[in-house]
């Protein structure tokens, strides 16, 4: 493994499979009466979150505690960032207290790379702007593999706000690396130009993209990142791209429906689909803890010599 996990590009195919296999072993710890192992005893991990997050931050924190690391959360709303400190200065100050790892979420793409250049601590990207969210893609891959026993050759359809989605970029990189056939669909205003170069099929017609899919992954409409009129109205969006039972029926009978959360019910996904029999949305959340334990464990080791 490299020093940091900033992007799926940092991982080889073999490393991805190693993470997924390690996740399998980590999951068993969560089923024990004492859900804790001493592995990261004495390691300090700082969770530095510049954007609101419940799921990801909680998930990392539980994973860190199950591995016995000392954890510390910095919520930016109560920190000196409010007094005008730059990201680099905040990072150097945290670094001066010698943590072993920093888990960071930031609204700017590439914020993790900046930290990586100035910090000796290992950096895990927990979402940087519209760029990447590697641990989300890893937990999605783990969930898919658990249901389908493989990833290679599956048709995975990703629908929604593709433009603003870091989950999309990490998933496309990971799934194509492992040989899945990835389709994406969304309103033309929310499809990043040139996305075909990542090796995905693009269709503006969601019914075509969903036909025969093994996996449907819905993405949230990120209104907080939209500065302009990307879609006519939420109602019209639901009508044209929302995942309804009728659309699910076009996919394979054993399709699974995924969503990285938080969901906008009635916008990108109908409530009866989100809560329906094909939905694995809460399994994704449960698997998130095990995947993060695997990543923390594997990154805590020595750096590869190359």
């Amino acid at each position: 493994m490299k020093k940091d996990l900033l992007s799926i590009d940092d991982l080889t195919r073999d490393e991805i499979y190693l993470i997924l296999d390690t996740t399998e072993a980590m999951r068993e710890i969560g089923q024990r009466p004492i859900k804790k192992v001493p592995t990261l005893r004495g390691k300090t991990i700082v969770n530095l979150f510049y954007e609101p997050s419940t799921r990801t931050r909680t998930s990392f924190e539980i994973a860190e505690k199950r591995l016995s690391a000392d954890t510390l959360n910095i919520a930016v709303a109560t920190s000196s960032v409010q007094k005008g400190e730059t990201l680099a200065d905040t990072a150097l100050n945290i670094e001066a207290m010698a943590p072993d790892m920093i888990v960071m979420r930031h609204a700017s793409s590439g914020a993790g790379h900046l930290l990586s250049r100035i910090c000796r601590s290992r950096i895990i990207n927990a979402g940087d702007g519209m760029h990447e969210h590697p641990t989300q893609a890893l937990l999605d891959a783990f969930t898919i593999r658990e249901h389908k026993q493989r990833i290679e050759g599956l048709k995975v359809t990703i629908v929604g706000d593709l433009l603003h989605s870091r989950v999309l970029r990490s998933n496309v990189k990971l799934l194509t690396k492992l040989g899945a056939e990835v389709w994406v669909s969304g309103p033309p205003t929310l499809v990043p130009p040139g996305i075909e170069r990542f090796g995905v099929r693009v269709s503006p017609r969601v019914d075509e993209a969903v036909a025969g899919a093994d996996v449907i992954m819905m993405l949230r409409i990120q209104q907080e990142r939209m500065h302009g009129a990307f879609i006519p109205s939420l109602r019209e969006y639901f009508h044209t791209f929302g995942m309804t039972r009728a659309r699910v029926a076009l996919a394979r009978p054993d399709v699974i429906i995924m969503h990285p959360g938080p969901m906008n019910r009635g916008v990108e996904i109908a409530s009866d689909v989100a809560d329906g029999p094909y939905s694995v949305i809460l399994e994704q959340v449960a698997n998130g803890v095990s995947v993060r334990m695997a990543v923390l464990y594997l990154l805590a080791g020595g750096v590869d010599v190359d």
Partner: protein
């Protein structure tokens, strides 16, 4: 590369250990076997099989991965972390007599880690240690209760156990390094 135990000797040793276990533990229903990954697991299954042949009693058998409890994790700046495999103990260890099974007893550090790992699953009535080979050179105060073969070695040698389930043959050999 001298072979110090062949398939026949290994079979006899394990059968003898099965008899010794029954001799020392009257309450068979309290017993459970836990093999340490990797090679302790097939050994534990074979001992369970031997006991079944002797008295038709089914001893619950589990597998323990001790990697996360090792005392040498993260002590080097270079190289990948050891691979973790699954721990599977599908029964409660509370109030049971646990037979912990490993292939080679050497420094005792693996057993120390295994004891720590096991205790987190509950409070067994007792833990007894079964090893196929005891090669000496202990670094911790740990002693086996059942030994297939005591093998005097020098620290520069390595003892390799091969099992049919994993390596395609039953054999113990000493390698000079």
């Amino acid at each position: 590369m001298p072979v110090v135990m062949d398939a026949d000797r290994m079979g006899r040793s394990l059968a003898r250990i099965a008899h010794e276990i029954l001799e020392r533990n009257r309450a068979v229903e309290e017993l459970a076997l836990v093999g340490i990954r990797t090679r302790g697991v097939p050994l534990a299954r074979r001992i369970a099989q031997s006991i079944r042949e002797i008295n038709r009693h089914e001893i619950p058998t589990g597998a323990l991965d001790i990697t996360l409890y090792r005392d040498d994790l993260m002590r080097t700046a270079v190289g990948a972390q050891p691979v973790i495999r699954r721990t599977e103990i599908p029964f409660s260890i509370d109030n049971r007599r646990i037979l912990l099974v490993d292939d080679v007893l050497y420094t005792g550090r693996t057993i120390r880690a295994a004891l720590d790992a096991l205790i987190e699953f509950g409070r067994p009535k007792a833990i007894q240690l079964v090893v196929l080979v005891d090669r000496g050179h202990r670094e911790l105060p740990i002693k086996a209760d059942y030994v297939g073969k005591n093998l005097p070695t020098s620290p520069s040698q390595s003892v390799q156990v091969h099992l049919t389930e994993i390596d395609g043959r039953d054999e113990v050999e000493i390698l000079e390094s």
